[in-house]
């Protein structure tokens, strides 16, 4: 342009720099396609699940002797065309309940301690340590449950504990989700304004009163969210249950958590790997997708339910 820096005449070309506008458009397009790609992958996964699941239901309805009755047959033995869903659903619930019984008190306790009680120095050390726990691969926790929790703890408490059992798997999964529960709920408690704590202390409340009657209720929506996230994770957790709950090849409905049994994810894993591996085209293979679809629906319902709960418990502050 060669315009004098001090020239005060105003340029009326307001159309903007072409190259800059083109760059803006390109960047916008890149981000958009990344978003669209993710959505497409999700849709494709759901469609493939639904497709194979429908094929599975059709095949057991027409080809297998007991028809849809095989969905409530004796036990889950896919290679013998026995697909009792109650077995694996119950085992999944048992493991998840045990996991939540472990993770709720420990996770929330740790969160209250870190948020309300720990001195800043202690907190700076403990919080990262807790987050390291979140980084432990689940396969390691699986072996920890199998090689430590079962022989050194459960067998000392109850003699008849099987080598593989739902209890050890549940405890392992519980340990796995403690960091998730504690860090999400600790964030929620930290977000409670200081003014509310001061109001409470100013009225002569002790620390535990302030924590439990003011901070905890104000953070309840985040705390509920952390528990539901933990539960979804427990239901979907595969490696720990595949290693510690055992029962390859299928399992009978097992009400006693000290005995081994396959969960939904454990059943899928054993169908997909190792000696139980099945190839396409048979009902056992397609059952894998059917179970997968069920899992997906369970976590979907949980997530939608949690949205509602969170909105209901939300305290503005």
């Amino acid at each position: 342009m060669g315009r004098n820096m001090l020239d005060t005449s105003v340029s009326l070309d307001l159309s903007g720099d072409r190259r800059r506008l083109r760059r803006e458009r390109t960047i916008r397009w890149l981000f958009l396609s990344a978003g669209v790609f993710t959505i497409l992958v999700s849709v494709a996964i759901v469609l493939s699940l639904v497709g194979e699941a429908v094929t599975f239901l059709q095949s057991i309805a027409s080809e297998i002797d007991e028809g849809l009755g095989s969905l409530i047959a004796d036990g889950w033995f896919p290679r013998r065309d026995r697909f009792d869903l109650r077995t694996i659903i119950w085992h999944t619930l048992a493991v998840s309940i045990i996991a939540m019984l472990v993770a709720t008190p420990l996770g929330l306790g740790a969160a209250v301690y870190l948020s309300e009680y720990a001195k800043p120095g202690v907190r700076r050390v403990l919080k990262p340590v807790l987050e390291i726990l979140a980084g432990i691969p689940s396969v390691v926790l699986g072996y920890f449950a199998l090689r430590f929790i079962t022989p050194d703890i459960l067998r000392n408490l109850w003699d008849g504990t099987q080598q593989s059992n739902l209890m050890a798997a549940g405890i392992g999964v519980g340990i796995l989700i403690i960091p998730l529960v504690s860090s999400v709920s600790e964030d929620a408690m930290q977000a409670v304004p200081r003014a509310l704590r001061e109001a409470s202390y100013g009225l002569g409340a002790k620390k535990w009163h302030t924590s439990l009657r003011v901070v905890f209720p104000a953070a309840l929506s985040g705390i509920v969210a952390s528990l539901i996230l933990g539960l979804s994770r427990a239901i979907g957790e595969t490696m720990v249950v595949a290693i510690a709950a055992g029962a390859t090849g299928g399992s009978l409905l097992q009400l006693n958590p000290l005995y081994g049994g396959q969960t939904m994810t454990g059943a899928m894993a054993s169908l997909a790997i190792g000696s139980d591996q099945v190839a396409g085209g048979v009902a056992a293979f397609q059952s894998l997708f059917f179970v997968g679809l069920l899992l997906f629906l369970m976590t979907l319902v949980l997530n939608i339910g949690s949205e509602r709960l969170v909105r209901r418990f939300r305290q503005r502050y």
């Binding site: 001195k119 800043p120 304004p193 003014a195 509310l196 704590r197 001061e198 109001a199 409470s200 202390y201 100013g202 009225l203 002569g204 409340a205 002790k206 009163h209 009657r213 003011v214 209720p217 104000a218 305290q315 503005r316 502050y317």
Partner: protein
């Protein structure tokens, strides 16, 4: 600001029983001392926030703490109910005698202190609970078992809020206006039957009408309670307080700003004939 509310029967009764005068000019010099602060120094880690402050707070009076930002007036206020304990690295030296007992003595529990010395904060901070639950929070954590309905009504009446909220005690406190929220916070503070109420710039987040109502309320409340108020508003200090403490800032050689009390007297005296040029400059707006 010449308007005065008709004193309520409760006020007359308590004025008679405590023998406190209601008008500032006729204030007895001998009002009993509630707080006797001696050689107070407050530090936040290495930062020396308040230096060498001596101050007497008298019963059933309103004492205003004024001064420029960073002069330590809020810090001094928060020493009176040990709210500074909540700040990591805060350290208090000197004596804060409350009815002759050192609040920072070894056998004193801050929780007990705060039940007797209530506090109202700069921004209204009601709990996100119902109006009723806000009032009964303090009594409940103190373990009171009596019928709390009467206490709620009495506290709200004293805070001049009862008529506005009596039909919606179960509504969220957050549905109230800012001025109502602040009066609720005052009601909540007096529900634990304190004998002192500390107020940290209680009107700075309120509009002029809400401010006027709080000031009227403060004058009513001093018949029963001793009030210490921090304010940035000179007119407010002049309007409501009996005594005024003026704090100033010393800037040290390393740039540290340390507050100290420089003038303390009856409010009329401080505002009409301050003994220091610095005070006069501040209250007339030539400074700060």
């Amino acid at each position: 600001m010449s308007t005065r509310l008709e004193p309520s029967p409760v006020m007359v009764e308590s004025a008679v029983s405590t023998g406190a005068a209601s008008a500032s000019p006729a204030l007895p010099e001998t009002a009993p001392v509630i707080f006797d602060i001696k050689g107070l120094n407050v530090y936040y880690r290495d930062f020396h926030a308040v230096a060498d402050t001596d101050l007497d707070i008298h019963q059933n009076e309103i004492t205003a703490l004024i001064g420029p930002s960073g002069c330590g007036k809020s810090t001094v206020l928060r020493c009176l109910n040990r709210m500074n304990d909540l700040i990591d690295g805060a350290r208090v030296e000197g004596k804060v005698l409350y009815h002759g007992i050192d609040l920072y003595g070894p056998a004193v529990d801050a929780v007990e202190v705060r039940r007797r010395i209530g506090m109202v904060f700069q921004k209204p901070n009601p709990f996100p609970k119902s109006i009723y639950e806000n009032i009964v929070f303090g009594p409940k954590v103190a373990g009171w078992k009596a019928n709390l309905d009467d206490l709620v009504e009495e506290s709200l009446r004293r805070a001049a809020l009862w008529d506005e909220v009596k039909d919606k005690l179960d509504n969220s406190a957050l549905d109230l206006s800012g001025g109502q929220q602040q009066r609720l916070c005052i009601a909540r503070a007096i529900a634990t039957s304190p004998d002192v109420v500390l107020m940290d710039e209680p009107c700075s987040a309120l509009d002029p009408i809400a401010t006027y109502r709080i000031e009227t309320l403060m004058r009513e409340l001093k018949e029963r309670y001793t009030i210490v108020v921090v304010t940035h508003n000179m007119q407010q200090a002049a309007r409501v307080s009996d005594r005024t403490a003026f704090f100033s800032v010393n800037v040290g050689e390393n740039g540290q700003r340390t507050g100290r009390l420089v003038e303390y007297d009856f409010t009329d005296q401080v505002f009409t004939a301050p003994s220091l040029k610095e005070t006069e400059d501040y209250i007339t707006g030539r400074f700060g």
